[in-house]
């Protein structure tokens, strides 16, 4: 149980009582949970911030790269151990809900309504926070996004890298 309480029940519970709001409500940001089981909307807001400078400049290529990364993230999440998956799920749900946003970002404004510099400020505040849970949120998302983006050979052109081709050549 301990590992699953990514944001401790104590903090969330206290805030719930103090603010009198629901812990989580998808209606707050107009996300239809049935159509967005995999948090693609949330991630599509965060990816351009994490991957600024890495994504292709050409719009169509950029869109393809984002889709590939979202697919890769979905795949990564599908193979995570239960405990890790539960923690990540909790983080996503907090970022999609008003109270969670307030706790993690100090504002109830949905992430999709924030501009790039506000999102950078948010990541920076987590990254430099003195609270381990904020830093963990930043690190967890960062690693998920970076590993998923650079898992695709299509995204290696800026690295000037390609894997050796001898295996394919021999077939």
């Amino acid at each position: 149980m301990e590992r699953r309480t990514f944001i401790t029940t104590a903090i969330a519970g206290t805030a719930c009582l103090a603010l009198g709001v629901n812990y989580y409500s998808a209606d707050d940001i107009g996300v239809n949970k049935d159509l967005d089981n995999n948090h693609r909307l949330l991630l599509s807001v965060l990816l351009p911030v994490f991957l600024d400078g890495a994504l292709p400049d050409v719009a169509a290529l950029k869109r393809d790269a984002l889709h590939r990364t979202l697919d890769a993230i979905e795949h990564t999440i599908s193979i995570l151990p239960l405990d890790t998956k539960a923690e990540l799920e909790q983080l996503f749900e907090m970022l999609e809900g008003r109270l969670g946003l307030l706790i993690l970002t100090g504002s109830v404004t949905p992430l999709m309504m924030r501009n790039q510099s506000e999102l950078v400020d948010m990541l920076q505040s987590w990254r430099t926070s003195y609270l381990d849970l904020m830093v963990t949120a930043y690190q967890g998302l960062r690693e998920l996004v970076m590993a998923s983006y650079y898992s695709s050979p299509e995204h290696w052109s800026r690295l000037h890298y390609a894997k050796p081709s001898f295996l394919e050549d021999m077939k």
Partner: protein, 528 residues
Amino acid sequence: MAIKDPVKAGVDSGWAHINAAKLTESQTLEADVVIVGSGAGGGVAAEILTQAGLSVIIVEGGPLKSSSDFNMEERRAYPDLYQQAAGMKTTDKAIGIFQGRAVGGSTTVNWTTSIRTPEPALAYWAQAKSVQGLSKAELEPWFEKMEQRLNISEWAYAPNRNNQALKQGCEQLGWQYTVIKRNVKGCWNTGYCGMGCPVNAKQSMLVTTIPTALAAGATLVSQAKVIKLEHHKDKIFAVKAEAVDGNMKPVGIELMFKAKHYILAAGAIHTPTIMLRSKLPDPHEIIGKRTFLHPTLLSGAVFADPINGHSGAPQSIYSDQFVWQDGADGELGYKLEVPPIHPILIASKTIGYGKSHAELMEKFNQLQVTIALVRDGYHENSQGGQVRLTDNASTLDYPLTDAFWRAARRAYASMAELQFAAGAQQVLPISEGMPYLSSWNEAKKVIAEMDLAPLKTVVASAHVMGGCPMGEDLKLSMVNSYGESHYFENLSVMDGSIFPTSLGANPQLSIYGITARNATRLAEKLTA
């Protein structure tokens, strides 16, 4: 002409391999010896016991993958071959742990570095941990045997540019360095050992001891996760396992294994986990404690010329300049090595995001990376971590102590000094808040003041050791110096979990040699 896959050929020729995930009903299997785990310990034990004429079942939680599955891409290798898709972390997430999870265990994915157990480690175990019979002289024949068996020899070719930088830096500074011995035969020098050797040159358990054991009649059961040992008084009477899919999710089939003798060789996280789940007697509360990681720091360096750290034998040079300099139980020492440089590995084990991270990634081919593996488990302020059970699995709680952070600061300084001496233009210690440093003079000042903290400083590990220590003193150990349980007459442990401290060296050869010794003795006992 495609590369031959000896494992596929063996399975086709009739090796007894059962993929538990494909079973349709529960099964009970019996043999003289059941071995849990197929890595460095399990593989060597399987070969020796089979050759002694004993019937053997090897039970492995991971899948059977072989060279035709190894496509040199991290996106396939990590989920297929590593624990938790290479994303395993300590409880507070401050240390990322790379550990194998497939037939062959970590030997399928390691970087082939083969080092005999350092003498100061053996001396410390004898003096402080009640270990007997493991002196350098007593172990020598076993190391010779395994070096011959696995074709372990000094890398005879030029180091790749990444390792060359480590060598140059040592030469410039007058620091000790060693050319690494590797367990390879006909190596193509491509640099993808960590994703499974695509040409079967690496002499991992997957292509050496396990095929020999299977050819001699042993049975391999893959994708069977051991849940617990059933025991009564001083005897183990069964191993219970469940079939799992490729992501370790149970598929609803149970397996039972029965044997005269049982060997745990599931590695230093899972061997203690199985013992804890089985509620084995542990009067001195030792199981799962004192787990060691060689927690490792990284230092990046930008060179003017191409480093191409993805290409060539990943590790061919190390420096022991700082490992034992303050004595075994003095300030923590560290071993200097380099890692291979591949896209996911570098993207995730660096810091930042957005433009700064993209710029770092654009220097991919100019990037040299040096690592410092901290020797844990000797100093009084370095007691390692603890494996604990969770609802679904287990977790390793590993607090990073003051003594570790002092070593980290010294290690960052040594790495920067070395990298500048080797000709680096810039050095980037991989820890939050650190800028690119332009000279050793600047680095000295900045590193002396740098903030170091869990989660802010990137710490990784590829060596899990301890948690079920050997020794003759029951207050200090779970098994004796031959890996035999103090509490069960038919249980042995043969993996890195028996080490009473970390090694100060990459562990595979220590596990091979000590297991060869212990499994030979067990074979003699069981066939007497």
